[in-house]
Amino acid sequence: MTSDVVALPVLTIGRGTRLRRRFLRRPLAVLGLVLVVLFLLLAVFGPMLTPDPLVQNLSSVFADPSAHHLLGTDDLGRDELARLASGARVSLVAGVLSTALAMVVGTPIGLASGYFRGWLDAVIMRFNDAVLAFPFLIFAVGFAAIFGASLRTVVIALAIGLLPAVVRVARGEAMMLREQDFIDGAVADGARPAGIVFRYLLPNSVNALIVQATVAVPTAIVGEAALSFLGLGLQPPAASWGLMLTSAQQFLVQAPQLAIYPGALIALTTLGFNLLGDGLRDALDPREGR
């Protein structure tokens, strides 16, 4: 009885032939998907196919591209492509882990806040505003100072930074859904509040949350790069796109390409996720698309 109620009202990702068609009709969305897939391939397989990104060779610094080093070498003679691939993996880990953390923590909070309203909502939203009021980098800089600069610190700081947006989206969904008949039906059926949040509100908010996640991942990727750029994220000799830009800044005259590669990868990855997010949002929006 109750499970029928869940299945009815939404167009879920699962049965998505129509959805897929609507998504694939948008060239920019497809471009976004391609960019994201390329990024994933680079992050997952790149490090296996390239030389060790940490091995220095001081006799061939700033080398031009060759069969041996496809994109040349950096200021310490390390293989540039290998470092870019290794940096992609760092970005992927930072982006996905922090987004997952923010979603896992933020979704129930936001759903409960929007469903129960009242003082709980008031307290949560004030707190949310307070987190939002903090310029993220100033917070993250302090956070890194307290807990030490490392990938783990960066991931946690990013997750906290992403949290308010997740809470807000989940809350908005819950507020919209709670007015609908099938929730009244569930309440009449004797469903407990926690059951309503997890069994009814959560599955029906999945679409909005997925779109939010595609926005959160690139935000986190840029955040990791920015923190590493400032010296508060990964530490040398590790390869992170942000960190590579820091050292490239000193060699803008001799080797501008070292500043171009990592930055271009950050921009293309971010662009890919943004296009993918836009495309998903449009494809999922029942008012859009014909």
Binding site: R126, Q249, I260, P262, G263, T270
Partner: protein
């Protein structure tokens, strides 16, 4: 309207209180003993005790907090532990630098982003729309620190048009000052203009599909008049976005000041954290949050002014 202002003001005070407590506790959780840093590694325990006493570091936390707030309300944020200058003096020196860059960035952002968004919405599906959209997406995807590096490479290293880094005050050398801050401001403004373009576009498109615009069209109003009506209602979104972007703007300033080596508020923050300069960190964050809260209050009021319905119902959310 009165209750509305009062409610927003009250919630601002709550936010300010929560943030100040968080900063106060957070800063004291930083590793490293400030007394030891001030006195140096060779200090005797007696000297350390004296320093702790002098700066009130031996008091319980709540006492320190009340004392700090009391002092802060009188404009006294303590003494910087690295250069022994009053924090308020340092802030007064650094804030205008960042404000100048941020203000210029906002002007650039609004002047580029809003018209681009309007053109894009009005000419939906035409070349101008595609160009604006491409610009918006690229502006959104290119991070400040990369744009900054590219700008330095092109305009300083290759073309020698502008200095790569450094700073002179506006009062000392207005032309030199402008040459120094134009790159940082443009870099900071580009991201903002992209966000504004996208938001203006979607807000205006939303308004243009409303019934009242259809009515205006039915009444025989020109296209220009229709857009003018819709535009006024879209501006509420733009003001809100501008308010929400303030945090991003401050974050951007931190990065941009680091790249262009500008002695502003952002660089002060990073340096203070790296040097464990408690009083400066607290001052920086309190001032940031205070500025943010005040600006958001103003944004809300502007919002109410632009959207008369809110003046009555008093719910701005």
């Amino acid at each position: 309207m009165g209750t509305f202002i009062l409610r927003r003001a009250l919630s601002s005070v709550v936010v300010l209180f929560l943030c100040s407590v968080a900063v106060f506790v957070g800063v004291r959780a930083l590793p490293g003993d400030p007394a030891l840093i001030m006195a140096g590694e060779t200090a005797t325990p007696a000297v350390l005790t004296a320093i702790r006493h002098q700066f009130g570091l031996d008091q319980p936390l709540p006492v320190q907090y009340v004392d700090y707030v009391n002092q802060a309300l009188h404009g006294n944020f303590g003494i910087s532990t690295t250069d022994q200058l009053p924090v308020s003096e340092i802030l007064v020196q650094r804030i205008p630098v960042t404000l100048e860059i941020a203000l210029l960035a906002i002007i650039i952002g609004v002047l580029v982003g809003v018209p681009a968004g309007i053109v894009s919405a009005v000419r939906r599906g035409r070349i101008a729309d595609y160009v604006s959209n491409a610009f918006g997406l690229i502006g959104l995807s290119v991070p400040h620190f990369w744009l900054g590096l590219l700008a330095i490479w092109i305009f300083a290293v290759r073309l020698h048009w502008l200095p790569a880094s450094g700073f002179v005050g506006l009062a000392e050398d207005p032309v030199g000052n402008l040459r120094m801050i134009v790159m940082p401001a443009v870099v900071l403004g580009m991201g903002l203009s992209a966000v504004l373009m996208r938001q203006t576009r979607s807000a205006l498109l939303g308004q243009l599909s409303q019934d009242y615009v259809r009515t205006a069209r039915a009444k025989g109003l020109s296209h220009r008049e229709q857009v003018r009506h819709a535009l006024r209602n879209s501006l509420t979104t733009v003001t809100t976005v501008l308010g929400l972007q303030l945090g991003a703007l401050i974050s951007g300033a931190v990065v941009v000041e680091e790249i262009f080596v500008i002695p502003g508020f952002g660089k002060l923050t990073v340096d203070a954290v790296l040097q464990r300069n408690y009083p400066v960190i607290e001052g920086v964050v309190i001032v940031t949050v205070f500025g943010y809260v005040v600006v958001n209050l103003l944004v809300d009021l502007a919002y109410a002014w632009l959207n008369p319905r809110l003046r009555v119902s008093g719910s701005a959310r």
